[in-house]
Amino acid sequence: MVLWFRDRDGEPIYRYDVRDKSPADAKTWSLENRLFFQAVFDPAHLSIQNLELRDEGVYRCRVDFKNSPTRNIRVNLTIVVPPDQPVIYDTNGIVTMKHVGPYNEGSDLILTCEVSGGRPMPKLTWWLGNTMIDGNYHDRQDGILTNRIVFPRLGRSHLNSEFVCQASNTNQALPPSTKVVVNLNLKPLKTTITTTDSFLLAEKRYDMECITVGSRPPAVITWWKNTEQITQLLTVPPSDDKNVTRSILHLIPTVEDDGKYLMCRGDNPWIPGSVEEDRLRLNVYYPPRVYLKLGDNLVPDDIKEGDDVYFECFVTSNPAHTRMNWFHEGREVRHNTSQRTVTSHNRLILQKVTRHTAGNYSCSATNSQGSSQSNILSLRVKFVPTCKSNTEGLIGAMKKETVQVICEMAADPPKVEFYWTFNNSGVEVIHVMRARFSYKGTQSVLNYTPITEMDYGTLACWGVNDVGKGMDGPCIFQIVSAGRPFPPRNCTIFNHTEDSLNIACVEGFDGGLPQHFVLEVIDFTAKKIKLNASSKMPSFSVEGMEPHVVFRFIVYAVNAKGRSEPFSLDGITFRGVAKLTSETNGDEMELKPLYAVIAGCFVVLIVFLIVAIIAVWKRSRRRKPPVAKAYKRDSENSNNFQTGDTALTKIDQNSVEDIGNPDVVPNKSDRSGGIRGFIRIHKTPPARRRKKDLEVKNNGETVALTLADTPDGELHRNHHNHHRPSILTSANHVVSSAARESRI
């Protein structure tokens, strides 16, 4: 017999009676119909259906045997009621979604879990993964248990971690639990500018890349140049890796960027102060920038000859410049102490400057990126007025002829005050009255009229400007008694070939001034000057003349006062045509009919032959003139030489001697070394001048020379010598109005 008791004695809740019966006939009785005893099972057991709380208790099974001791077995039945599903709250209230957040990295996670129901009272615990992180819960006394966790400093590793709240009151079944997945905003870990060129070239485009790792959501990347944000030329390429944010800056570095810091900042805007940055010092290569400056203590417009001057060349360049050059008027200036030019560091030092030092200066600097030229500085060197060398000269004037003497000074500043002096003895110096001359700028004009023999002498023109008085550089003018030259004489033609000839004359008196000679070949028919040549000596060589044209050859002398009467040779033709050597002295010859010409030609030919024989005979009696044909242009001796096709000027240096003019003593040293370009000038007696010239010149203004220094205002005149003391002057640079006119 089996009796089941619950908790206490009294009536059994179930009985199973097989006394005197087979198990199949067992008598059973139960307190409730939820109870079933399964006696055939091993072990036999009591089933309770639809368990209720009141079913809990100690169950005793008493088995009575007929002959064996009774057995009592006790079983404690505990009824477990599972708790309800836990509910999670975060700081924003109840969490209904699987995900919570996003929370900022480093912040504290505060979660509260609540659960109701459950028997026995459940344990309400928090789990992070497999680890219990909080087992402290408390009974709110209203049937609800709560467990609040403050999880400090959420870290990167907690992204997507699961926080599970579990309400457990039995190990018989899985406890109800609720989980949340944490979403986080993560700070950037590191920002890197990946472009690592050691230098950048100015004005070239570079794609600078910057990456920020670890930000969630993706970082906002900003670029900065020093403290200035760059907002243009940015590209944000897509990134495969959500962890990485990229930004590309299309940088065109400028020279000014050199040395600046390029900064890339990755920022998670959701997390204040989460900036991670990287910076790169920009090393921008560029050609030098050069700036030339006059020395600090120098006043640009107050530099005089003799001063020391220096320039400073300021170079900014990257890489540093390896070379610096200096230029004056485009030509390089080098260190040269003998020329008092010193280059030191970034300076060009010019010691004791002269007017030739003036001009445009510049410097240049060179580095690997190229060479650059500086600004151009104009160096002005002030200097006292000095005579421009080409204004010195010999001026011929007849008595009572007024000549304009022009004195041209070089001076800086060019505002020059002039005064003139006169000296005819070498002893006395007379100042010319201010009223006699005028001046403007660097030029002064004196109208001078020699009245007596005493008025011939040396005029000196002096200049004074702000810098001072040009004591070393007056302009000297020799006023000599002079007129137009005499015409050349005895011009003869020789070596007359089919298309060439030579012509030589004897030079006449030079009029007191240096003279030269001009040959003009005139096409008699066309009345056109075919050829024009000039020479120091009255001998010419003509070649390449066209045939069958009748030419007139005229030769005349020219000096500063004008030209002489011409010596003419008419009717000259080439190729088989008879030559005329008649002296016509300027009269024009009428062309006759052809027959007359032919007849004339015979006559002329005969005459010519006779004359030629005589001339040859005469010449051979004298010293035979060596004729040097110059088949190239002689720039030294025939500056004004003009040709048609191939005109040649024959220079016969010795013809002066041949002619044997007693008034002219040629200066041998002129051409044979010594002071080149200077000849000795001898005064020619005025009596030998032709009266016609004198009359013409006398029509000019009369100039009275006044001695400013003497009280009576009279000029002292020297009557002793017709021949003046020889004065060295430049024969090549005679400038006077008359001379100029003669050349036009």
């Binding site: 009536e11 009985r15 001791p69 009774t70």
Partner: protein
């Protein structure tokens, strides 16, 4: 409030229902039993309207005695260690256990069950502790019999071989010794399950301890509600030596006359009788 009243009503109703069925009147289970003695267990019940199915005695949940009424009255005993039922003496209401041993100690339960239809079952239980008394009074050892003022008296009291271990206590001139002067030791377990108790005493002799030159030390051993005593006299050294009474024993619970420690065999029976009387009186 209403619900409480309803519950109370049902409790009353249940009691009334019980009253009409089998009822356990009283169950007697002695708390102490002296080793080798005989123990009588009583179970009185009233079947009332029920029909008795069985009466069972359990020791520690093991059935050792059954009186079943199915198919006639039938008494059965079952073998349980430490339990020897005197079947000749035992009846429906009383079970006699003879020659109790230390293993007889345990929880005894009487369970009565009615037969069809209620099968109502009731039980009551109680614990029996079997006592093995010491064969002698406690021994006082180690104390000097003559001391001077200021001396330290020290010694032990030992109660040999009892079950359970005796509780010992020192008295000085009939006053309990200060707790701080006592030295406690764990009981010494013997091989046959008996235990020996030892208690130490150590104190400085002061004038207040002496009455006309003598100091009385007393050690008591207590097991359950029986106890055993031994006295000892200690003399003050400055007094003329007086004859002491070494080994003077006295059983306070007994006749009051002292006995020599060695006379266990002589006094064993009377001691046992005294203890049993005392134990019975307790219940």
């Amino acid at each position: 409030m209403f619900q409480e009243k309803v519950v109370f009503f049902w409790v009353l109703l249940a009691n009334w229902v019980l009253v009409i069925g089998i009822k356990l009147e009283s169950v007697f289970i002695p708390q102490y039993a002296v080793k080798d003695a005989t123990v009588t267990l009583r179970c009185d019940f009233d079947v009332e309207s029920d029909k008795l199915m069985s009466l069972k005695w359990y020791k520690d949940d093991h059935e050792f005695f059954r009186y079943s009424m199915h198919h006639g009255i039938r008494m059965q005993t079952f073998s349980v260690e430490g339990v020897i039922v005197d079947t000749a003496q035992s009846t429906l209401n009383s079970v006699i256990l003879k020659n109790v041993t230390l293993k007889t100690s345990g929880t005894y339960k009487c369970e009565v069950s009615a037969d069809v239809p209620s099968f109502r079952t009731l039980s009551k239980q109680g614990d029996i502790i079997v006592i093995a008394p010491p064969k002698s009074n406690p021994r006082i050892v180690g104390f000097h019999s003559v001391v001077s003022l200021g001396d330290t008296l020290r010694g032990n009291c030992t109660c040999d071989r009892s079950r359970p271990a005796a509780s010992l206590m020192f008295y000085i001139n009939d006053e309990k010794a200060d707790f701080g002067d006592l030295i406690e030791y764990l009981p010494i377990s013997e091989q046959d399950g008996l235990e020996t108790s030892v208690l130490g005493l150590r104190f400085q002799v002061e004038p207040k301890h002496f009455r006309s030159g003598n100091l009385e030390l007393k050690c008591t051993a207590t097991i359950g509600n029986g106890y055993w005593v031994t006295n000892m006299m200690v003399s003050q050294a400055s007094f003329n030596a007086q004859p002491s009474f070494p080994g003077h024993n006295r059983l306070l619970a007994g006749s009051g006359s002292g006995h020599k420690a060695g006379d266990v065999g002589t006094w064993g029976t009377s001691l046992l009788a005294t203890v049993i009387i005392t134990l019975l009186g307790y219940f």
